[in-house]
């Protein structure tokens, strides 16, 4: 308590900043699509360099007074004027700029989700070094020059932790250009969200499937096994697929093969998984979806509230992963 109060006293600017920020954030509205940065919504404060600049100008003023040096005064006043002028330029660098959501590419939970943000400059004046950051005052890696009457796409990185829909965070569009003496910013919250898939985990998709683990071949209904022959055992083959009788005779491990497996059509079923934790089941399913897509299989996905019919390809894969990401288990 006492420490924070002391800190507040030592950094008056910081506490003022915090107060301003609360006031400002109460006024940010979530808006879709191109949001024009209005003059009234731009906030501006001197940077640390700006403060140093002011101190230097003041020192020059004292020096000029001491020496009654007219050209010293001229320099001092030129710099003072420069400071005031550059404040307007930094502010003007943001005014009337438009910010638009430009989508995002889904990622797996734990990875960094990049929201693409379009900066549209409808004016005839070039805008320089427009920075997007999550925190006010950060330097940020994402900046862009926006030439007159054009749009530039830059991004905003959000670290994801969980699967699901990731709402685009509120972010600051800011500028220190041209001289870095002032920091002008505004808060933007675009009505936009991205998707974080469950991060894939668990065992890889087995070559031969029975229904016990939630992945099964279409034909693996009980009693309809159409035994097609045996082949040599490979590492990773399920133990239950080993043809023990033949193996015992030949002295080498062989596994059973079924004719339907060649049809490459499998069902991935949430309910058939045994893991008690639904999140882990989703991660396992995500793993298998990826594996299946990679192996070029055709698969369908069965969730308690949804079924996605069998298909192949990247689009199908994305659809399944999205379903996994957005799946909301009903509590019982």
């Amino acid at each position: 308590m006492a420490v924070s109060a002391l800190r507040g006293m030592l950094h008056p600017l910081r506490s003022i900043n915090a107060r301003i920020e609360r006031w400002v954030l109460a006024r940010v509205r979530r808006l879709p699509g191109p949001v024009a940065i209005r003059r009234q919504r731009i906030y501006i404060l001197p940077t640390r360099q700006g403060t140093v600049f002011a101190v230097m100008t003041f020192a020059l003023l004292l020096g000029s007074m001491n020496y009654s040096n007219s050209l010293g005064f001229a320099l001092t006043f030129l710099l003072a004027g420069l400071g005031l002028v550059t404040m307007h330029h930094t502010h003007g660098n943001l005014v009337n700029l438009q910010v638009a959501a430009r989508g995002s590419v889904p990622v797996f939970a734990g990875e960094t989700l990049r929201f693409s943000v379009g900066l549209i400059n409808p004016s005839r004046r070039d805008r320089h070094v427009i920075t997007l950051t999550l925190q006010q005052g950060d330097w940020g890696d994402h900046w862009a020059d926006v030439p007159a009457e054009s749009e530039v796409t830059t991004g905003l990185d959000v670290k994801t932790t969980r699967r699901g829909r990731v709402p685009a965070p509120r972010f600051a569009v800011s500028s220190r250009f041209p001289l870095g003496l002032f920091y002008a910013w505004t808060w933007i919250e675009l009505d936009q969200s991205g998707i974080a898939y469950p991060s894939p985990a668990g065992i890889t998709l087995p070559d031969a499937l029975d229904g016990d683990e939630g992945a099964e071949t279409m034909a693996s209904q009980p009693g309809s096994d159409d035994f097609a022959g045996v082949r040599d055992y490979h590492r990773g083959d399920s133990l239950s697929s080993i043809h023990w009788k033949v193996s015992a005779r030949s002295g080498e491990l062989v596994v059973k093969q079924f004719a339907q497996a060649r049809s490459n059509e499998i069902v991935l079923n949430f309910d058939r998984l045994t893991d008690p934790d639904p999140e882990r089941r989703l991660s396992q399913l995500a793993r298998w979806v990826l594996d299946a897509a990679e192996r070029g299989l055709s698969w369908s996905l069965v969730l308690p509230d949804q079924q996605i019919p069998a298909d192949t390809g990247a689009e199908h894969c994305a659809r399944c992963l999205t379903a996994l990401a957005l799946f909301a288990p009903t509590r019982t």
Binding site: R39, Q49, V52, F53, M56, A59, L60, L62, G63, S64, M65, N66, Y67, S68, N69, S70, L71, G72, F73, A74, L75, T76, F77, L78, L79, A80, G81, L82, L84, V85, T86, H88, H89, H91, G92, V95, N96, P122, S123, R124, R125, H128, V129, W139, W143, A148, E149, R176, F177, P178, L179, G180
Partner: protein
């Protein structure tokens, strides 16, 4: 954490710093700019050749060495020259640790600061140009380093810098005129403050001093007369008065702080004038023979010489009144009289013999003076800027063998001769003459007008000015130095008074300089008050009000201009909006556009249907097509056409 700065900014920063430091080569020992240049090359080597940045140890060592070297060179780190030297060295050392934006920014700020140090040494008109050019350059560097990948073209950053400085200029002017000035100094000036390399009279006079000075065209002071200008032969500008002679050098002899000013009687023919004296780092001020008033911050010595309370380190403006007709010190007794007769114990024997002979032949002091002047006039004495060097018995040598000398030789020899003959005498150094500048309505007195003459004390007349040079070269006093010296002498250009175009131009330039000095450099508390009260701002309150008002106005216009620049350039959308408004209106009249119709077809059809609108419809569609496909400047025409359509 501040981001690092692109390597591409480095060469630009180095070039700009070099330009900013360059003029210090005139004021500082050469090793300092050389050191700075060396550090710049090292830094460039780091960037280009992958040399190593110096470590902490080397940096610390270099800093300590630089500090010690400044101390050794100047004997102190206090003062404007050592201060400027330290600042240059600091900037150079800072170069060796520039990586991040912060370092670069600090260097750019140091650049601004360094710019300020130049004005301690030089405040001439070209310096304001230097200030603006360097201001643009440093600002451009700041723009450059604030662009993360340094990809701005040199042209863009220079243009941005120039725009920023240009927009700061009106603010600078307003602040310069209206920002309340308070009388300095705030904490005292270092002993070496003021312009460097000043020329001017010294406190003493040795043979050769004044002839050296006479080769310079530099301005010593300028005078503005209230009323008529005294004739040239009366324009003796009184400087140091010298009493003691050691055989070679004349010195003031006594510091007469406590004594009263010399008694002046029968002062007539007074003139008032205002002197703008250039800095010379001594105490003496100048006034026409014989000053009767004492300006503030000055005092009058027993010799009736004006002396400033502090050494004159800056251009000084004072007004004073002089009497051209006067009697100084009707009585001369006691030790001043003895001092005015004292000569070195030995030396210059022939001069003493001559004086003794004259003393026996003449009874009257006046006759003695005339006799000496007659000697200078009638014997083959030569007035020259290039006198031969004189040995031990300088006066003997001059009077009896070389007979070639400049004013200081004549004044000195004359005073010695008079003292040897028992007439109290002293030497006065100062300036004689001065020329009117036709442009500026003022008089310029240059170093080439430096002069020395003598004063003898005569019963009934007091101290009387005698100029032996006038006996040898009357033109020196009547016309000027150029006319008095034979051709081929190293006379400064302006002293020749040729009346050429170049001379006229230089006088014009001097007049501009005088204005600059008067209005800009001397703009301090007093001038500010008088200027501002003349334009209707009599007190502090109104001054501050005007200042804030004007600054707000300028900034508001700048802000409005920037907003206007930032507005959407979407004139095409504007055109569509106007077009839609027009079609809505036409729809209400039953002339709705059909989906397949282009604007032109639509208008042709509408014109056929209601011929009374035909002309206006054609005007509308022409303007619309022009805006959409050719020229957005036609927008006004479209607006006009749409308005016409609404009229019944």
């Amino acid at each position: 954490m501040m981001p690092p700065v692109s390597q591409r900014c480095l060469p630009r920063l180095l070039v700009v710093l070099a330009i900013v430091i360059l003029p210090h080569a005139r004021n500082l020992p050469l090793w300092i700019p050389a050191f700075a240049l060396g550090m710049m090359l090292w830094r460039l080597g780091v960037a280009r050749r992958g040399w190593r940045m110096p470590g902490m140890l080397i940096r610390g060592g270099l800093a300590a060495m630089a500090f010690a070297a400044v101390l050794a060179t100047f004997g102190s780190i206090n003062g404007q020259t050592p201060g400027a030297a330290l600042l240059v060295l600091m900037a150079a050392l800072k170069l060796t640790e520039t990586r991040t934006l912060r370092d670069y920014t600090i260097l750019a700020f140091l650049g601004y600061f360094l710019l300020g140090t130049h004005f301690l040494f030089d405040q001439s008109i070209p310096m304001i140009l230097f200030l603006l050019v360097c201001g643009v350059l440093i600002t451009a560097v700041l723009v450059d380093i604030n662009h993360p990948d340094g990809s701005l073209s040199t042209r863009t950053s220079l243009r941005t810098g120039a725009i920023l400085i240009a927009q700061a200029l009106p603010l600078m002017l307003v602040l310069f005129v209206l920002f309340p000035r308070i009388p300095g100094p705030l904490w005292g000036l270092p002993s070496d403050s003021g312009a460097n390399a000043v020329t001017g009279l010294g406190e003493n006079m040795s043979p050769g001093d004044i002839s050296q000075l006479s080769r310079s065209d530099e301005v010593a002071f300028r005078v503005r007369f209230d009323g008529p200008v005294p004739p040239r032969h009366q324009r003796y500008w009184r400087g140091p008065v010298l009493w003691t002679f050691d055989g070679r050098t004349w010195e003031p002899g006594f510091r007469s702080g406590s004594l009263q000013a010399g008694t002046l009687t029968d002062a007539e023919q007074t003139v008032r004038y205002e002197v703008t004296l250039e800095a010379h780092r001594h105490h003496w001020m100048l006034a026409l023979d014989m000053p009767v008033s004492t300006p503030p911050d000055a005092r009058m010595t027993p010799n009736r010489q004006l002396v400033a309370r502090k050494p004159i380190r800056e251009r000084m403006l004072y007004s004073v009144e002089s009497a051209l007709d006067y009697k100084l010190d009707p009585a001369l007794e006691g030790w001043p009289r003895r001092l005015a007769l004292r000569l070195p114990v030995e030396g210059n024997e022939r001069t003493r013999e001559l004086a003794a002979r004259w003393r026996n032949e003449e009874t009257d002091d006046r006759a003695l003076v005339d006799r000496a002047l007659r000697m200078f006039r009638e014997q083959p004495f030569v007035y020259t800027l290039r006198p031969p060097l004189l040995g031990e018995n300088s006066v003997d040598q001059f009077l009896f063998s070389t007979r070639r000398g400049f004013c200081e030789h004549y004044a000195s020899a004359f005073a010695v001769l008079m003292r040897a003959a028992g007439v109290p005498a002293r030497v006065v150094a100062g300036y004689q003459g001065g020329e009117m500048n036709d442009n500026g309505q003022y008089m310029i007195v240059r170093q080439s007008d430096a002069h020395a003459w003598a004063e003898v004390w005569l019963e009934g007349a007091g101290w009387t000015r005698i100029d032996p040079t006038a006996a040898v070269a009357p033109d020196r006093v009547e016309v000027g130095l150029g006319a008095a010296l034979p051709a081929g002498e190293p006379v400064p250009f302006l002293a020749r008074r040729t009346g050429s175009v170049i001379e006229a131009m230089r006088l014009r330039w001097d007049s501009i300089n005088a204005q600059w000095n008067y209005w800009v450099l001397a703009y301090g508390p007093e001038l500010q008050r008088s200027v501002l009260s003349r334009i209707g701002l009599p007190d502090w309150r109104s001054m501050i009000l005007a200042l804030t008002g004007l600054i707000t106005l300028i900034l508001a216009s700048l802000g409005a201009w920037l907003l206007w620049q930032s507005r959407s350039a979407a004139t095409v959308d504007d055109a569509r909006r106007i077009w839609n408004r027009a079609t809505r209106r036409l729809s209400r009249l039953g002339l709705a556009p059909l989906p397949h119709e282009g604007p032109r077809d639509y208008c042709e059809r509408a014109a056929r249907q209601s011929p009374d609108l035909a002309l206006r419809l054609r005007a509308l569609v022409d303007a619309y097509v022009a805006v959409r496909y050719a020229d957005s400047a036609e927008l006004d025409r479209l607006r006009e056409a749409e308005r016409n359509l609404r009229r019944r």
